[in-house]
């Protein structure tokens, strides 16, 4: 029986997170507009855009290779696969054993590489520029992520997201400085990975500063729809990940059956909403930084993460 529940919850989780992606983006934009004193578009607008884009025939450059056509599917698929591994409203879902933090990072990297290659496919300056910056920022984000993972692994004894969430849920760890530091590091990584302010501005097409947009300038039609969808999904994934690890309360054990899921669902939606609100506030509060300030931003995150790990060493050494 438990197996059935876990599979069901897994399926529900996938549907939920896929559906949530456009909506979350819409809500985020709406919140930002509100905070800036604009009315803002309807929260479902991104969904409508996607559907509209899907109906259009993409235009490819003459010298576009199969890469241009395959990459969007690969990126979207990788995003979906990664999203399927992150616990959301319940723990112990069917894929829980697979949900390793490093594997998730690897799947995200897969999508990133696909996007970079797609950007370079037809040999435009913008594509190359975007790819170069994307990969460089990732190179600095990766260590921060792994160091944060180090702190989590020391506390939970594993890098399995589900187990980590469980360990934090059961508590006994209490509140730790090092956890806070790891959280900051992860937040910085999330911002960089999703090309949000202050690293990049998702709403602009100003060539010299853009990173993410530069790579998909050539994309159109369903390809563009897939790129956008992958981006939205990644944002959702990160928020889900943060909430699962640092706000584990309310997660239902998958085996417990639907009646408890409801509670978990409510809690999850609330957490995501809160995170979206916080992100919107953060983004509208500060300005985008110059491209070559980003390394300092991520380097600081890395150092904080390291500091957290060291503090942990000390504390574990004492106890």
């Amino acid at each position: 029986m438990a197996i059935v529940w876990s599979i069901l919850s897994q399926a529900l989780h996938i549907v939920l997170i896929v559906a949530a992606a456009p909506v979350l983006t819409g809500v985020l934009r709406w919140l930002k507009a509100r905070m800036m004193g604009r009315r803002g578009a309807h929260p479902l607008q991104p969904l409508r855009d996607l559907l509209k884009l899907l109906r259009k025939t993409p235009v490819l450059a003459e010298n576009a290779s199969p890469v241009s056509r395959a990459a969007p599917y690969l990126a979207a698929g990788a995003a979906v696969a990664a999203a399927a591994l992150v616990p959301s409203f319940a723990r112990g879902m069917a894929f829980a054993p697979l949900s390793d933090l490093i594997v998730v990072a690897g799947l995200l990297a897969l999508g990133r590489v696909a996007m970079a290659l797609a950007g370079m496919d037809v040999g435009t300056p913008f594509g190359g520029l975007g790819a170069a910056r994307e990969m460089s920022f990732a190179a600095l984000a990766e260590p921060a992520l792994v160091v944060a993972a180090l702190s989590l692994a020391i506390l939970a004894g594993t890098t399995n997201l589900d187990a980590i969430a469980g360990a934090f849920r059961e508590g006994g760890l209490g509140l730790r400085v090092s956890l806070g530091l790891a959280l900051v590091a992860l937040l910085a990584v999330a911002i960089a990975e999703n090309a949000r302010i202050p690293v990049d501005n998702p709403a602009t097409h100003l060539e010299l500063t853009m990173v993410h947009e530069a790579m998909i300038l050539e994309a159109s039609g369903r390809h563009l729809a897939l790129w956008d969808f992958a981006a939205m999904l990644r944002l959702t994934l990160w928020l889900a990940l943060l909430s699962a690890v640092f706000l584990p309360l309310g997660q239902a054990p998958a085996g417990a059956g639907p009646h408890l899921w409801i509670l978990g669902l409510v809690a999850w939606v609330a957490k995501m909403g809160a995170l979206a609100l916080a992100l919107a506030a953060f983004e509208s509060a500060i300005a985008k930084m110059r491209v070559f300030r980003v390394p300092e931003f991520l380097g600081a995150a890395l150092l904080l993460g390291l500091l957290g790990a060291v503090l942990l060493f000390v504390s574990t050494g004492l106890t």
């Binding site: 290779s65 056509r69 790990a309």
Partner: protein, 671 residues
């Protein structure tokens, strides 16, 4: 098994001897390379047999004046023989396929010798035989590095290469001497009896790091590698990067895990971890800045060697801290990554050789858009690139996942200083992996994607059947090892037991695990999940979207018609090698590699492109070619003053010696 392996080695030597005669005939080259391919395949099979079977040993009928040369095979050497066999097979088939007409003896003779030297090194059971193979391997590959000696650059590479080889050999001899002690018996069995301790152990490790480390390309003795590997013919570069560095790492492992005994303290691993982390970052960063594809790949080799040595160092430390399971985990990560890197780096070098052969250039800025003209090469290379970028579900990711797990567990070693160092190493390893991904995207994207940058690149041609086979074979292995790392880890188990007296955590047939009940990685399931997700996406899109695509000119924020004299567009409107490296050069290069860059802008109103000049100096190379020769020349100048004496003054020297000696005697006798 041992007889089989010796047979293969002997046949390689025979081929080398016969090569000068064969070279006269049209089919001579085919015979040699075909024979090498067969022998390599034999070696691979013998290695698998050795991994499954029990250790064997034998004495050769010849050897140094003081005794026979001893050979043996155990799990550790068998594992590296497997690496050698796989890389050798692919490289030999490639060489066979890219033959055109008769081959010069100087390219034909050393190749089998090179393979045989590596095999002897791996089979050796005493210090002399090991050094014999080690130096023979260096000498043979030196001839191949110098094969195009009309070029000053290649001569420089060969000079530095052979110099480092000799230095490494001498250091290793000293290391063996330190281990052997007064008895002077360098048979491995005898060396195991008396493990060194205290400063002797430290000195041995330092000498081994100087000897084997320099051969493997560990910083700061890596400088010869980016010079020498590209200078050799491509199939040899593949072997040098894929197999030779592994042979050096084997020597390192043989010393650190076997000959120096199991009762070594924790800190013995620290230098390996530190040097490995440094090499990983330096190599990966340089790979992002080089604009010669073979040099780029050589730098990525430095990075991977660094990662492997981190694994070995961690295993040593864990073993010293009495954490056998973790030691096995780290050692398994190292061995697995050695195998995976050997396969995908061989693949990449062979692809680079095919690119060089098809588009007649190794410089990124003269290539581009090759995926249209050389699809097989491009897709095969993509497999290698994805593995080198450690993307799931390919082989590189599996081994680096294991390595990261080992690093994440390194805090279990109680020592605080070690914990901090390991945390830093963790960050550096992750940085290196991500940098490697960037470098690989740069390599594949600029070479195979985009538009051709020269007419020759536009007219590139795919290689023959054999060449494609030589590319597809390692590509397939890369995927296979990526999907079944558990299988390979089980195969490596005897080697792990030999190194750490423990087995890697069992995680079943298709998975690898960090620890009993710890994190797991199921490559097959992840691959299936990925495939399913992609399938779902495709299905969903197909349901709503119209099929087919429209073709149009490149948009690029506005349409610009290509100038007439450049049918495939103006190359200068494409990202260049140095342009693509710019962000990393600014972020890290300036601090780590004293990188520099400058832009020459066209005058206002002119339509010419802005040219970006950039470059960097590897500090180690600067030191090698700056201060060191200066000190040497200063010393030489002093020595010359002694030489310019007249006969009378030379007599004065003799006289002085006599008087000094007599005074010494008088003094001694007075006491």
């Amino acid at each position: 098994m041992l007889t089989l392996l010796l047979l293969a080695t002997g046949s390689l030597l025979a081929l080398a001897v016969a090569a000068p005669v064969l070279a006269r005939h049209e089919a001579g080259g085919r015979a040699v390379f075909g024979g090498c391919a067969a022998a390599s395949l034999l070696i691979a099979m013998g290695a698998i047999g050795g991994l499954l079977g029990s250790p064997e040993a034998a004495d050769l009928p010849f050897g140094p004046p003081w005794g026979p040369a001893r050979v043996a095979i155990d799990a550790l050497s068998a594992w590296f023989l497997l690496i050698l066999g796989l890389a050798g097979t692919a490289a030999s088939i490639f060489a066979l396929g890219s033959l055109h007409g008769p081959e010069a003896p100087r390219r034909l003779v050393p190749y089998p010798l090179f393979l045989a030297g590596m095999a002897v090194t791996l089979l050796a059971a005493d210090g002399f035989t090991l050094l014999l193979g080690f130096e023979a391997m260096s000498l043979a590959s030196w001839v191949l590095v110098a094969h195009d000696h009309e070029e000053e650059a290649n001569r420089r590479a060969a000079r530095i290469y052979l110099g480092f080889a000799g230095f490494g050999g001498l250091s290793l001899i000293l290391a063996f001497g330190m281990l052997a002690g007064g008895a002077g018996d360098v048979a491995f069995a005898a060396l195991r009896e008396a493990p060194p301790d205290g400063w002797r152990a430290a000195l041995v490790l330092a000498l081994v790091l100087a000897g084997a480390g320099s051969k493997a390309g560990l910083a700061p003795l890596h400088v010869w590698l980016p010079l020498a590997h590209p200078a050799a013919p491509s199939h040899v570069s593949a072997l040098m990067s894929g197999a030779m560095t592994k042979v050096a790492l084997y020597v390192l492992a043989r010393f650190a895990f076997d000959l120096m005994g199991t009762a070594q303290p924790l800190w013995l691993g620290a230098p390996l971890v530190a040097l490995g982390a440094a090499s990983a970052v330096i190599g990966a960063l340089r790979a992002n800045l080089e604009d010669d594809i073979k040099t780029l790949l050589a730098c990525s080799t430095i990075e991977n060697v660094g990662l492997i040595s981190i694994g070995l160092g961690l295993a040593l430390a864990f073993r010293g801290a009495d954490l056998p399971a973790l030691a096995a985990l780290a050692a398994g990560a190292a061995l697995l990554h050695a195998l995976n890197h050997a396969v995908f780096k061989t693949l990449l070098f062979l692809a680079a050789g095919e690119v060089l052969h098809g588009a007649l250039s190794r410089r990124i800025d003269r290539l581009g858009g090759l995926i249209h003209r050389m699809p097989v090469t491009a897709w095969a290379a993509l497999a290698g690139v994805a593995a080198a970028a450690s993307l799931p579900p390919l082989s590189g990711f599996a081994s680096e996942w294991l390595l990261l797990q080992a690093l994440l567990a390194s805090w279990r070693v109680g020592d605080l200083a070690f914990q901090m160092g390991a945390a830093a190493a963790t960050a550096l390893a992750a940085l290196a992996a991500a940098l490697a991904a960037a470098a690989m995207v740069r390599f594949w994207g600029l070479v195979f994607l985009g538009r051709p940058r020269t007419p020759r690149a536009a007219g590139a041609e795919e290689g023959g059947r054999l060449v494609q086979a030589a590319l597809i074979l390692p590509a397939g292995l890369t995927v296979l090892f990526g999907l079944l790392p558990g299988l390979m880890l089980d195969l490596a188990e005897p080697a792990l037991r030999l190194m750490t007296r423990a087995a890697a955590p069992r995680a079943g047939f298709v998975a690898i695990g960090a620890a009993e009940g710890g994190a797991r990685y199921w490559p097959l399931l992840v691959a299936l999940l990925l495939a399913a997700a992609i399938g779902a996406v495709v299905w969903a899109v197909r349901r709503r979207a119209p099929t087919g695509v429209a073709r149009g000119p490149i948009w690029d924020c506005g349409f610009i018609a290509a100038p007439h004299h450049l049918p495939f567009g103006d190359p200068s409107t494409q990202p260049t090698a140095s342009g693509f490296g710019q962000p990393l050069r600014r972020m890290l290069g300036t601090s780590l590699l004293v990188a520099r860059e400058g832009v020459t802008m066209p005058p206002p109103g002119a339509t010419g492109p802005a040219i970006l000049h950039s470059g960097f100096d590897d500090p180690a190379l600067v030191a090698l070619e700056g201060p060191v020769p200066r000190w040497r020349d200063a010393a030489a100048a002093q020595a010359e003053r002694l030489r310019d004496l007249s006969i009378r003054q030379c007599l004065g020297l003799t006289f002085g010696a006599v008087v000094l000696m007599l005074a010494l005697l008088a003094w001694l006798e007075a006491r």
